[in-house]
């Protein structure tokens, strides 16, 4: 057993979490009145702070803040309209060339082996499944952080 007094840091550590200190330090505290008194002072301190009544605002904060917030936006905000128009434009820009060159496209697929088409479809499905799983995992992670 060491006869050297524990440092202030060790005393604090022992008072917070006894199990994180080594056996030598623990046995010293058991036999040293000065270190024991220090630990006791720290423990009293932590207990008193922990048991102090919680501070609360003496006013309805939620009500005060809500009064200052802007009115709820309508469901179709400018952002939603913009997203809708972008998707519509993208759909048109894909479907128009497909419609115009449909003869060539059908000839292209007729020429391709059916095995290749299956391979492309399966690959696309696998990618979609993995992406969906990733999105779900990310969502769950965010929710667990919030909780």
């Amino acid at each position: 057993m060491t006869t050297k007094h524990l440092s202030e840091e060790e005393l604090q550590q022992y008072s917070i979490d006894k199990s994180s200190c080594d056996i030598e330090a623990s046995s010293h505290i058991q036999s040293c009145a000065s270190c024991k008194a220090n630990v006791e002072a720290y423990r009293q301190l932590f207990t008193v702070i922990h048991d102090q009544p919680k501070q609360v605002f003496g006013f309805d904060l939620s009500n005060l803040v809500l009064k200052q917030l802007p009115e709820s936006k309508s469901k179709f905000s400018v952002n939603s309209v913009f997203v809708f128009l972008t998707v519509l434009a993208a759909a048109f820009s894909i479907s128009i060339p497909v419609y115009l060159f449909r003869k060539y496209l059908s000839a292209l697929f007729e020429g391709a082996l059916s095995m290749t088409i299956y391979l492309i479809v399966i690959t696309a499905i696998v990618i979609l499944v993995f992406q969906s799983m990733e999105m779900y995992r990310k969502y769950q992670k965010q929710m667990s952080i919030l909780n």
Binding site: Q12, A33, S34, A37, K54, F59, V65, K75, I145
Partner: protein, 191 residues
């Protein structure tokens, strides 16, 4: 809840306020002495949180993120008032030694001495409250967040945006200073 607010449901923000105002109150009460200022700062914290909610990256708890806004708002206020520097009240070493002796004799302790001679919990609580009030706002906040709100060093580090090592160091100094207050009281009682 965050998504609801972002979609424009301001009422969902009320639930966020109710869930986090406890932590905000601990920070604001510890850092700001004036009651009227507390009211203004608390509202300001949530207005900022509402406006910045779109930038919340889900990398920490929402309460920690709002706590960070509260801490920064209080710090800005204190900086304006030039009140932020820590008032590190280290006492003389001899007071420490005598206090330790007094506590040591009592620590050997409740087993031998009469209970009424020991400082009552109520009295100790009052001493501590006054000692905590003497600490700098930053120390006060850290002590409260760690020992009252049971936040980890990492969470306090996120709120204060200080490295975890600095948080540990500040807490170490604050605890030491508070312990000295207890020992000084024991010494005083012994005399």
């Amino acid at each position: 809840m965050v998504e609801k607010v972002l979609r424009g449901d301001t009422n969902a923000f009320s639930a966020i306020i109710k869930a986090t105002e406890g932590l905000v109150a601990q920070i604001v009460f510890r850092m700001i002495a004036n009651e009227e200022e507390r009211k203004d700062i608390a509202q300001d914290v949530y207005m900022k949180a509402f406006n910045k909610l779109g930038g919340f990256k889900f990398q920490s708890k929402l309460s920690t993120w709002i706590g960070q806004i509260a801490y920064n708002a209080c710090l800005s206020y204190l900086e304006k008032k030039r009140l932020v520097l820590p008032g590190n009240s280290h006492r003389e070493d001899d007071t420490m030694e005598e206090g330790l002796e007094a506590l040591s004799s009592k620590t050997d302790y409740a087993l031998n001495s009469e209970p009424e001679k020991l400082i009552s919990q109520k009295e100790l609580s009052a001493i501590m409250q006054s000692a905590i009030e003497k600490l700098s706002p930053v120390y006060k906040t850290m002590i409260t967040l760690y020992h009252h709100e049971d936040l980890s060093y990492e969470e306090i580090s996120q709120i204060t945006q200080l490295p975890a090592g600095t948080v540990k160091s500040y807490l170490f100094r604050a605890r030491k200073s508070l312990k000295e207050s207890i020992l000084a009281k024991y010494k005083k009682d012994e005399l």
